[in-house]
Symmetry: C2
Subunit: 146 residues, 2 copies
């Protein structure tokens, strides 16, 4: 139980599931990197609905470039989250689908999405409040700052 926050009392500092770049026994960093990059989650979500071809993925995921779709899908494949199948048809055809491991990730993604939805307003409010109190602050990431 490293992450349960039963009471906010300064304890023996038994946190730290792993973490810090030096701990080799972590692995969470990899997941965070994958889940944190711009497109992986969307690819996973799309594939959660069934196998998809390259073009289907690109059309489904608005805004993704060929390059990024390729890279994203390659990384997912390398991590064993997605399988890539090439059919020797004339106009080359490839489909991608989640592996079991990849599919198990969808639960996490779902949890993340649920959390986002549940807390989105609170967060938006917090941001507005913060921004109001810090008008000269330049923390708006990807947001309009006029």
């Amino acid at each position: 139980m490293s992450l349960t926050h039963t009471g906010v009392t300064a304890g023996p500092a038994e946190l730290d599931p792993c973490g810090q770049p030096e701990h080799p026994d972590c692995g969470i960093r990899d997941l965070l990197d994958r889940v944190g990059d711009t497109w992986s989650v969307f690819v996973i979500v799309e594939l959660a609905n069934g196998p998809r071809r390259f073009g289907e993925l690109q059309r489904a995921i608005d805004g993704i470039s060929q390059r990024m779709l390729t890279l994203t899908v390659r990384r997912l494949e390398r991590d064993g989250l997605v399988t890539r199948t090439v059919y020797a048809t004339v106009p080359a055809q490839v489909d991608y689908r989640l592996t079991e491991t990849g599919a198990s990730l969808t639960h996490l993604v779902k949890a993340l999405a649920d959390w986002s939805l549940a807390h989105r307003e609170v967060i938006a409010d917090a941001r507005s409040a913060y921004d109001a109190q810090h008008p000269d602050n330049v923390m708006r990431r990807g947001q309009s700052s006029s």
Copy 2:
């Protein structure tokens, strides 16, 4: 599911902060950004064990720079996940603690950590296998392939 993309056709294709323009599931992009950045999760994990002062956080989170700790903590504060309390002591003292919202994120982080742990070997294997089959591939992060 809350993450389904639905149509997403045409449109000016202007990228939103969320990556998925004109869609209500945008809130997830924020979470992914936060969870995906290098330090936020570690700060949250540390704070899950109780309030921490700036220096305590920095010492606890190995490798983080002052700058990044400041930025990370500011972002978390802006999102209402962390509260910052300044004590007017002589050698300035500040403590950070999770808000309720922030604390609720702890469960998610725990889930992510659990998943990482549970699948890390499978993933490591998948990577080895992939790298073995693609020796000329440049996906290995932090490595040169020339």
